[in-house]
């Protein structure tokens, strides 16, 4: 992989001046992922959401390559149509048969785990040559922090409130990365914007794959996480270091842990990841110790499950 210095010479794909919040993980995810395309031209589709509304405000656009926004639930289906058109026009000689293009689809966790899941699964099964990128911040942040199937258990969200009758979201999050790996596509990976080199390395593999690839990128949202904007990358690293968001990849069916070297001697307790975030603050009130223990247990179980699949 390129060094960070070499990466600075690559074209900027998402220009400054977009309207995403300070400390937003989504724009970091887009920039890191698109570095993986190297010099290649990329046509992107983007699902309705923070990333879309903040980067396409007419008459401005932050995307340096061609981009299409269609709707919320169909970023994958839309890019599958673009890719099909490219294939057809190239085959018929209606565009330069030498022309090389990469295709990427972006969506948040709401647009990917929930409403866009069918569209993603379908486009993936059909084998279109594209990279799907989910920037996962664990809730419907664009509409105001409503719970999604990616929202962690016991997190506060505006549709999974914290009160005397319930401690935030009751259900566990969906393991989308494994589900996508079970589509048996060439490349699937989970990474976090806290580790830029891990994201770029995985994005490079994803863009190089022949066929569909899926990247699930942890992208903190200071608004929704009730966290300090300056702490985004630190939280994104803690997500990995604690095993809350393990870094792994599945390359041509081979599962592989890609955790940072420092976790070799054990994972950081998950409370280190939870504590700086306001959405978990109720868990640190006396009486809720069992909930924290349950979260830790769940993290450990999931990590063991992954290690087992990677064994």
């Amino acid at each position: 992989m390129a060094t960070i210095k070499e990466l600075t010479y690559l074209p900027e794909r998402l220009s400054g001046g977009h309207r995403l919040c300070g400390g937003c993980g989504a724009s970091i995810a887009v920039r890191q992922v698109l570095l993986g395309a190297g010099e290649a031209e990329v046509v992107s589709s983007v699902a309705t959401g923070c990333l879309e509304v903040s980067s396409t405000i007419f008459p401005y656009g932050a995307w340096e390559g061609s981009v299409i926004h269609n709707a919320f639930e169909n970023s994958a289906a839309t890019i599958s149509g673009v890719e099909a058109a490219f294939k057809s026009l190239k085959r018929q000689g209606k565009i330069d048969p030498e022309r090389e293009l990469k295709f990427a689809a972006f969506g948040g966790d709401g647009g990917t785990y929930d409403i866009g899941f069918q569209s993603l699964s379908g486009a993936t099964e059909r084998g279109h040559n594209f990279v799907y990128v989910c920037y996962d911040n664990g809730a419907y942040m664009n509409t105001g922090i409503q719970r999604s199937s990616a929202t962690p258990q016991y997190a506060w969200a505006t549709t999974s409130e914290v009160g005397s009758a319930q401690p935030g979201k009751l259900q566990r999050r969906k393991d989308l990365t494994s589900i996508m790996a079970d589509h048996r596509i060439p490349y699937v990976a989970q990474a976090s914007v806290g580790y830029w080199n891990d994201v770029v390395k995985k994005a490079t593999k994803a863009f190089a794959a022949e066929g569909p690839a899926f990247l699930n990128i942890m992208a903190p949202c200071p608004r929704g996480w009730r966290s300090d904007a300056a702490q985004t990358t630190e939280l994104a690293r803690l997500a990995v270091d604690t095993g809350f968001w393990p870094s792994f990849e599945v390359e041509n069916g081979e599962w592989r842990m890609t955790m940072p070297a420092k976790t070799r001697n054990g994972l950081t307790p998950v409370v280190e990841f939870l504590k700086p975030q306001g959405r978990f603050k109720h868990l640190f009130k006396p009486g809720n110790e069992a909930l924290l223990e349950e979260i830790q247990r769940d993290v450990d179980e999931y990590y063991a499950y992954l290690q087992n699949r990677c064994a």
Binding site: S66, A77, T78, S80, G81, A84, A85, S88, K94, R126
Partner: protein
């Protein structure tokens, strides 16, 4: 000068699939749904036999079908699909995106009832759900018209930057075998011509499609431009259809009358039942009755002036709708017809009927009853109100 044509026996879907093969779109994204299915099945055979170079994308839902069509069309490919009923309803959101982005997608719809209760047979409920979406919508009386509408569709779409939906009635037209004239392949290719979109996602200079028009009145200006394009499309449709009519010898008008030169009692109707209406009108005219029918072929944009002009001599008009617009005064075609008449200061006696929902029989006696009602209306009979035919 007419082109070479051969007479074939075909189902409506069969000849629509032939039109798709002759046009050979760059991309077709489609999903199966009764009674559209045989269109995509036939096309799949053409793909398997190597008769077309089309990229055939068999999507996992109608929502993804139109979503992928939008991506494909934005990438500059001539893009087709086909659907029906629940499928058209499922992609409703995307119909607005296609027209709002001004993408010239062509989609044949096999007109069918909507759930609930579930019913797979023909009526116009599904297509009527698309009437305000900004798509050009045709209704065919028979397989031949469905074929002609399909052949002219891409040129209409590409010239006006509007998506086009030729429709044919489920089962009655999609599945019945009738005599059709199939134009020579090369003649269709010549007529349709190559497609050269102005801007595409695949251009070397990047473009942005579908940005956020949330500030000021940008959104409203874009909608106004859509309104202008829809209104202006009528002339373009007529010109393109006339060109095709000149090649085939089959005339086209947005609205087509029968007996209107002297008719006092007129039935306005769309789709396959126009033939039943005409048969009754013919029989009654033989008995000296001044009756006629007006068939609407182009439903969107609605040919308001043409319709009003064709009905100028009518003393009583009955509109027969094959779908209802629940809660409104009448069925959708009746609402459009009354608007056109009022806009042109015409005030015949009006009667409103709903017929043939979910494939219910359309009996010739219904038309005789409607003409009798119209005759009675001229002798001062009161309006019985919106009437469902054949439910008693």
């Amino acid at each position: 000068m007419t082109i070479e044509q051969k007479t074939i026996a075909a189902t409506g879907n069969g000849i629509v699939a032939e039109a798709y093969r002759q046009i050979e779109p760059d991309v077709i994204c489609a999903y199966p749904i009764t009674p559209q299915t045989t269109i995509v099945e036939d096309f799949a055979k053409f793909v398997a036999a190597g008769k077309v170079r089309t990229e055939f994308v068999t999507v996992e839902s109608e929502h993804s079908s139109m979503s992928a069509c939008i991506g494909s069309a934005a990438a500059g490919a001539r893009t087709f699909t086909a659907t029906s009923s629940q499928g058209l309803a499922l992609m409703n959101e995307e119909l607005y995106v296609a027209s709002g982005l001004r993408l010239p997608i062509v989609m044949v719809n096999a007109n069918r009832a909507l759930s609930a209760p579930i019913n797979i047979h023909g009526d116009h409920s599904d297509a009527m759900g698309a009437r305000d979406t900004g798509w050009v919508i045709f209704f065919a009386e028979n397989a031949q018209e469905a074929y002609d509408h399909t052949v002219i569709a891409p040129r209409i779409a590409e010239e006006n930057l509007l998506p086009v939906m030729p429709t044919l009635d489920g089962f009655i037209t999609t599945h019945a075998i009738t005599r059709c004239e199939l134009a020579d392949d090369a003649a269709v290719k010549d007529f349709v011509g190559p497609y050269h979109p102005a801007h595409t996602l695949l251009d070397v200079d990047p473009i942005m499609v579908g940005g956020f028009a949330n500030l000021g009145n940008t959104y409203m200006k874009i909608k106004q431009a859509q309104r202008t394009a829809n209104d202006g499309a009528l002339a373009s449709i007529k010109r393109i259809a006339d060109e095709w009519a000149g090649l085939t010898g089959r005339p086209y008008d947005h609205v087509e009358g029968y007996g209107l030169e002297d008719a006092e009692l007129v039935i306005v109707i769309m789709g396959s039942a126009a033939g039943n209406a005409r048969a009754v009108a013919r029989e009654m005219r033989a008995d000296g009755k001044k009756v006629g029918i007006l068939k609407v072929r182009c439903y969107r944009p609605f040919p308001t002036a043409e319709l009003a002009s064709a009905l100028a001599g009518a003393k009583a008009v009955a509109v027969m709708d094959r779908s209802d617009s629940f809660g409104s005064y009448a069925g959708p075609l009746a609402l459009d017809t009354m608007t056109a008449l009022f806009a042109h200061d015409l005030h015949p006696q009006m009667r409103r009927y709903i017929y043939g929902l979910g494939g219910a029989d359309v009996k010739l006696d219904y038309f005789r009853k409607v003409y009798a009602d119209l005759e009675a209306s001229l002798s001062g009979a009161s309006d019985p109100g919106l009437t469902y035919l054949g439910t008693d």
